[in-house]
């Protein structure tokens, strides 16, 4: 316990002793986590946008003339089982006639003496579908259903939107990974510099019989403290920026930036993991 308290206090004191290198590391963590935070917020809000667009995706399925409303209901159950399908809405022959009347003002049955409109249905896609929705396989599956006559859809547009969304997510993940990698390198190099400047301390500690863990621990704790400070500053900036931006947006549009603030705890966790990895990497090169 005494050793742990000493190492903890050494880690804290080192923050003051190595002010300049600490500032560099904290600033790097702050910048990296702020960028990762911005990417995360962007991803969360892009997600809302894609969900909104998916809610507008519409596939219209027209059944063959011979298909009755009851038969169509059974086909609808089959359609609902297709992965990616959220809901189906049956449009009976009578409902189709009503729609026709409301849109064109004519009553087809008056001069044809029968209702020529087929039973149809509208298929809605799942909004919260993991990853990219591939629309073509859904349409192919629908077309394979026996009673289906034609399928109208915005397949090309949907495919473009989904591809763009998927590439965007991949790009964001790539950028976030690159930033994490750069931060690990920066922290690692900063700690390396600190260790290099503390060769005397390490030599003295070895001389008096300190174990490797005892020598390493203050450097690792120093790295963790740097990361926590950097994460706290980044969190404060992100929180302030989102609150400020929403204040401004509320005066201009109805759109607001939504953030699950729990993600800030993830930022802290990422920071600690980065620092542990970075400082361990640096120390292992010097203290073998």
């Amino acid at each position: 316990m005494n050793k742990f308290l000493f190492l903890l206090s050494e880690g804290l004191k080192n923050l003051w002793r190595h002010k300049l290198t600490v500032f560099t590391a904290v600033f790097s963590v702050f910048l990296s986590l702020s960028t990762i935070g911005v990417l995360f917020i962007a991803e969360q809000n892009t997600h809302k946008l894609i969900e909104y667009m998916r809610s507008k995706y519409k596939i219209e399925v027209f059944f063959k003339d011979s298909i009755t409303n009851d038969q169509a209901s059974q086909y609808l159950q089959e359609i609902r089982k297709i992965p990616g399908v959220y809901s189906t809405t049956l449009i009976t022959k009578d409902e189709a006639l009503k729609v026709y009347r409301s849109q064109f003002g004519d009553d087809l049955t008056e001069f044809l003496e029968y209702n020529p409109l087929p039973v149809s249905c509208v298929v809605n896609i799942k909004r919260q579908y993991d990853g990219m929705i591939k629309i073509n396989p859904i349409i192919e599956r629908i077309k394979e259903i026996e009673g289906v006559d034609t399928v109208n859809h915005q397949g090309r547009l949907i495919s473009r939107i989904e591809t763009f969304y998927e590439q965007g997510l991949l790009g964001l993940s790539g950028i976030a990974f690159a930033i994490i990698l750069v931060t690990v390198m920066i922290i690692s190099n900063t700690i390396k510099l600190t260790i290099y400047s503390k060769k005397d301390l390490i030599k003295a500690l070895k001389m008096i019989g300190a174990t490797h863990t005892f020598i390493r621990m203050p450097f690792i704790l120093e790295g963790v403290f740097q990361a926590v400070i950097g994460a706290a500053l980044a969190s404060a900036l992100l929180y302030g920026a989102v609150v400020g931006a929403n204040e401004l947006l509320s005066q201009l549009t109805v759109f607001t930036i939504n953030v699950q603030w729990m993600f800030l705890s993830w930022l802290f966790l990422i920071a600690v993991i980065i620092s542990l990895f970075g400082s361990s990497r640096a120390i292992s090169r010097f203290i073998k």
């Binding site: 050793k3 005397d200 301390l201 001389m207 008096i208 019989g209």
Partner: protein, 218 residues
């Protein structure tokens, strides 16, 4: 007890130690004399197990160089007080913090540490210097601070590598006297390397001479 049996060690450039046999009994005070580059520091490094012999065996108390595990080396070093020509005091810590460091390594509590630091500083005549930083002390004071840091953990052995190398004759003499007091009062084994024959010739202790990596008398 310190024992070296037929110990050889060679550096890449070729020089080192050859077939060293040496035994130092518990509580003994032994001087190691020899010119610069004769192998004094190498011999002490072998005893401190910073390096290991190519052949032969170094025994320090219960620790043998050929069987010791890497994780046990810190335990060996905690039983040895090492002082050297370059003081290895930490510039960003005051004297109290420097001297207290070995006890933090062992895991003592703060009260014990305060008491022990006062005692150690008093023993080397540096009471009242607790808040001073190394750069505020003279060479002799810094060397005594190193001795206090070595003594604080009550070592069974003190290895002194040219501790008077940077000191004037009077301060050197005082330091040797201090080591003698520790040896006689605490029963601590002292093995001190020096190239200053005039400093040690009048002392009544065994002298071991090293030349070109070989012991001449033991």
């Amino acid at each position: 007890m310190i024992q070296l049996k037929n110990v050889s060690y060679t550096y890449r450039k070729g020089f080192g130690l050859a077939n060293i046999d040496l035994k130092i009994n518990d509580g003994e005070f032994v001087f190691l004399i020899g010119p610069t580059g004769s192998g004094k520091t190498t011999l002490l490094s072998l005893m401190h197990m910073e390096i290991f012999p190519e052949s032969g065996k170094v025994t320090i108390g219960d620790f043998d160089s050929d069987t010791i595990k890497k994780r046990k080396i810190p335990a060996l070093r905690r039983s040895i007080g090492l002082i050297s020509q370059s003081y290895h005091l930490l510039d960003d810590r005051n004297l109290f913090e420097n001297v207290a460091l070995p006890l933090h390594v062992i895991g003592h509590n703060q009260n014990d540490i305060s008491e022990a630091v006062e005692e150690a500083l008093d023993e080397v005549g540096l009471s009242g210097f607790e808040d001073h930083y190394p750069q505020e002390l003279s060479g002799g004071e810094q060397q005594r601070a190193c001795l206090a840091r070595a003594l604080i953990k009550n070592p069974k052995i003190i290895l002194a590598d040219e501790p008077t190398g940077n000191l004037d004759p009077v301060t050197s003499f005082d330091l040797v006297k201090l080591l003698e007091e520790i040896n006689s009062e605490e029963g601590t084994t002292v093995f001190m390397a020096s190239h200053n024959y005039s400093l040690i010739k009048s002392r009544n202790h065994r002298i071991v001479e090293i030349h070109d990596g070989k012991l001449r008398s033991a």
